[in-house]
Symmetry: C2
Subunit: 200 residues, 2 copies
């Protein structure tokens, strides 16, 4: 839709539209909202973007986002360094962290093996993970990659490397999502839930 | 949700979350997307925000957004200066513009009269509209404020001021939205559609 030849506005709408899940109507709404902000609010917003880019890098240990050389989780002595939970992205680590059930450390691969998209084992942070297994600190590696073909392939690939090293490798359980209706669950999930049944 | 004590990331998520219609999950997704941009893309995005704020002001005639003193529509000699379409916001003007059915000019009020929110006639750009009616150029003022209580009140208020000036004042038609089912339309709309019926 035309934005009346106001190039700066058109550009801002365009930038918002380039974000994932933001359509043209929403992009317009956001751009107008930003225009109606005070100058200092807008400057703050812009600064948050550049700041995030300048200040955030990867943790030298787990490759998660961090503002310092080592992220707060890797630095925290209370976290169990003998367990590494391997995830595809920082958001996955955040999701697990929000369960408050995990006290080990993470390793962020920043992707998954996907031959279709030309992403091989060397394109994600697998060697950084292997480098962490040098001494005998690590007892268990939990593969918490996505339950997709790519995530599954990545988990299998890594577990095959780890097997000869004698490190216990586990995978997140498949099964029914909590709160779900049996009749609406797909047959693959249901089959896995049956297969992985536990004694009460 | 915690963002692992990465303050720059937490701040960026927070900024996105302050936008309308953006919840915490979406804000996270957007922030991570921005983090994965190249440095120049992120700088571009930030610049688009500050640029929009610095460069865009109100058109001196119609109060719509403009990068110059006069907006392209007011400057355009092909537009009919005898008709002014009064809207609440620049987005409304954009919506009407996108119909490609209107060749007159606009006037943007930047709000509507709303006593509940302490917005009176002096808080929106009504006197700028009246200033445009000084000479005899303007023959018709179309009230295209929203079909809400506030929009309706604003339209009534302005039309009462214009009546003594002898300027024709019209209001957008109420009726069924095109493509809608009669059975799902509310009774007020249906009553207005009946009332405003046209001969075939």
């Amino acid at each position: 839709m035309a934005s009346y030849n106001v190039p700066a506005l058109a550009k801002l709408i365009d930038k918002f539209e380039s974000l994932p899940g933001i359509g043209s109507k929403t992009a317009q709404r956001l751009a107008y909202f930003v225009l109606n902000m005070s100058d200092s609010q807008a400057a703050d917003f812009a600064k948050a973007i550049t700041d995030a880019h300048e200040k955030i890098k990867y943790c030298s240990v787990c490759c998660n986002f961090s503002q310092e050389d080592m992220c707060p989780i890797c630095k925290n002595d209370a976290r169990d360094k003998s367990v590494i939970c391997v995830v595809e992205s920082p958001r996955d680590a955040m999701a697990i962290e929000s369960t408050k059930e995990f006290s080990g450390t993470y390793h962020v691969l920043h992707g998954a093996i996907s031959p279709l998209n030309n992403i091989g084992p060397d394109d994600i942070y697998i060697k950084e993970l292997l480098a962490r297994l040098g001494d005998d600190t690590v007892k268990e590696v939990i593969m918490a990659t996505n339950a997709t073909v790519e995530g599954e392939a990545t988990a299998m690939y890594i577990s095959r490397i780890l097997k000869p090293l004698g490190i216990k490798t586990t995978r997140l359980a498949y099964g029914l999502p909590v709160g779900s209706d049996l009749e609406y669950s797909d047959e693959v999930t249901l089959a896995r839930a049956l297969e992985g049944r536990n004694e009460l």
